[in-house]
Structure formats: C-alpha cells, structure tokens
Symmetry: C2
Subunit: 191 residues, 2 copies
C-alpha cells in the first residue's frame, strides 16, 4: 500500500530495508472521494499530503466567490498549505481531490518524531522543497514571460497527459484565465 511512497523516498535518500517498516509507520493511507476536501479555509492544515493515486488541487475563493486554483499535485507530489502546516495556524486555502484519490498523510505532530528518528527524512523533505522552490521560480518566469496562449501551449507540451486528464475549467483557473478563453485557444489549435 505504501509502495509508491517507498519508491519515491528511495529515489532521493538511502534507508536500510530493515528500517522502512518503522519509517512507514509514521504515515497513514486515506481514500478520498472526488471533490472531497482535505482542508478548508479557516481550518489548520494538520497534514502534509502525498498523492499515491489521483490528483489534488489547492485553491482559494476570491472576493467574487470564484475558486482560484493555485497548485495541482499528481502522483508522487506532496501538497500542503505550508504556511498553515508549519505554523499550525488557520489556512486561507482549500485542498480538494480532483479525482478519487489514494493519499498518504504525514501529520504535523508525527513529522517531528519521524525526522528526529530518521534524519535521512530531513534530507528527503529538503530535496522535495528544493524541487518545489525550482518549480515555482520557473512558474513565476512563465507567468511574467508568456502570453496566456503561450502559457497554455507550453503547458500542453510539457504535461500532455495532465491536460487530457484534468477538467478544462480547473486547468483554465490554474492558468489564470476563463474556461471560455481556454476553449477559444483549443479550437484555434485544432482548426
């Protein structure tokens, strides 16, 4: 059940085979239905979420009542509101399952014990956050550099399966434009 997480950890750090059982005890598997919320605005983000199967998204609700998606997490990605998670203060975000998901959670209260006991896991999470840091640097670059149409085309080239898999209104929200504008671009590409 924890195979995906175990394989992922093994890509970044070395942990003795005999230690894995103990490492994995700190994690919990949960099954989440489509559109189920793992976090809602005003609540504390108590866990860090690893997507073993499915897709999560993080969004906020703006003044007009519109859900604005800021991040997706597919298989092998971690997601949390790290401000709320690290401070254990209420969040301004929602985390929701885009599809039926299998999620592996690491609770804030247990994380500290895990990291104390297995310092390799500090390295693992350092590398995870460093990779996210790189990804955000590029995301800001693209947001500033590309027109909305280029943004969509670049995204489609980089993540073709993702673009097929995700509902178009969520993809539009993530890229910062309306679903109508997105179908306009898509029609242009097809014609």
């Amino acid at each position: 059940m924890f195979q995906k997480l175990k394989d992922h950890i093994a890509r970044f750090v070395e942990i003795d085979e005999k230690d894995y059982a103990e490492v994995l005890e700190y994690f919990t598997i949960i099954n989440v239905s489509k559109k189920q919320n793992l976090l809602t605005e005003g609540k504390i983000c108590k866990s860090n979420y690893f997507v073993s199967k499915g897709c999560l998204r993080m969004f906020f609700i703006n003044d007009k009542g519109i859900e604005q998606t800021i991040q997706f997490a597919l298989e092998n990605w971690w997601l949390a509101d790290y401000t709320s998670f690290s401070s254990q203060q209420p969040s301004g975000f929602y985390i929701q399952a885009v599809e039926k998901c299998e999620i592996i959670t690491l609770d804030f209260s247990r994380q500290e014990e895990l990291l104390q006991r297995f310092p390799q896991m500090e390295r693992y999470f350092r590398l995870i956050h460093q990779r996210a840091h790189s990804a955000f640097q590029f995301r800001i670059k693209f947001l500033y550099d590309l027109s909305r149409e280029e943004l969509y085309n670049d995204f489609s080239r980089s993540f073709p399966e993702f673009v097929q898999r995700i509902p178009q209104y969520l993809l539009a929200s993530y890229l910062g434009f309306t679903p109508e504008y997105l179908s306009e671009i898509r029609n242009k590409r097809i014609s």
Copy 2:
C-alpha cells in the same frame, strides 16, 4: 564576519558552539559591487548565496531584451537558481547585486560534504526551502487575486522599508508592470 549566518542558522537548528567553527569553514564571504553579476544566463549556478548585507535580485532577459525580475533577496535570505544549482546545468537566469553586498556563498561541491558531516544543516535547508515554498504559494495567490494597484499597495504595507530602498524600476519589474504605471499609482496615493 559570519555572524549574520551563524545567528540565522541558530534560529532554525541547534549546533554545538564548538562545531560552529567547522560548519562555517564550508562557507566563503565575498564582497560584491552594485550591479555585479553573480550568475549570468548560460552559466552554471555553482553556489547558493546568503545575503549578509545588501540585496540581490534574480532576473531573466525576455524576447524584447527587457530584464524581468522574478525574485529579490534581502539580508538573511538565500538565493540561487535552484534548477541549475541542483542539476549543475546551465541557468536561464541572472543573479545581480542591487546594492553593494556582502554575500556568504556555499558551493555546490562543498554543500554535500557539509550536509553529510552536519545533518542538522539538512534540517536548516529543509526549513529554508519550506519557508520559500510557503512564500511562493502566497505569491501565486496574490498574483491571481489582486489587481496591479492592490499588489503594489499590499506590498508597500508588508515591506515598507524594502519599497523605500529598491529602485522603483526594479520594483515595477518585480510586480510585473511598467515604471510609468508604478509612478501613476504612487502619485495617486500621495494626492
């Protein structure tokens, strides 16, 4: 000379006083003149930079030849192109001193040895990247949620000293608008 970095590390992790001399041996202090580049496009980002005094910025040059700032680092912040740094492949970015700076560098080649020898430093960098991860989540939220004027007003409220200190054309570039538009907003606030 390393006091700022030592104080910063001590805010996040515990290192025995007797170990500090050895930890700090992995770092180098450099003095950088205003507008000097620490990284240029096409080169490998060989170091991670801690701002002990002054201010750095990371930017790219777009198709129109315009410098687009994507990140600033003031005192006590780390900055690198983490894609280039972690892969040791050529960068698409520039890192430049906004002011005369004192920078503490950690070379990629030495980092691994430091982290092996002092696993607390894995924790330190995990927390640094986790904090950056939080900051980027909020930055994306603000970029999507706020009008350009609100973005400037919010930024001025949150970082008043920074807004005073940074040349206005750089601030405009960071916020994604023209210097002319920035002075328009500023004049509106004053009148």
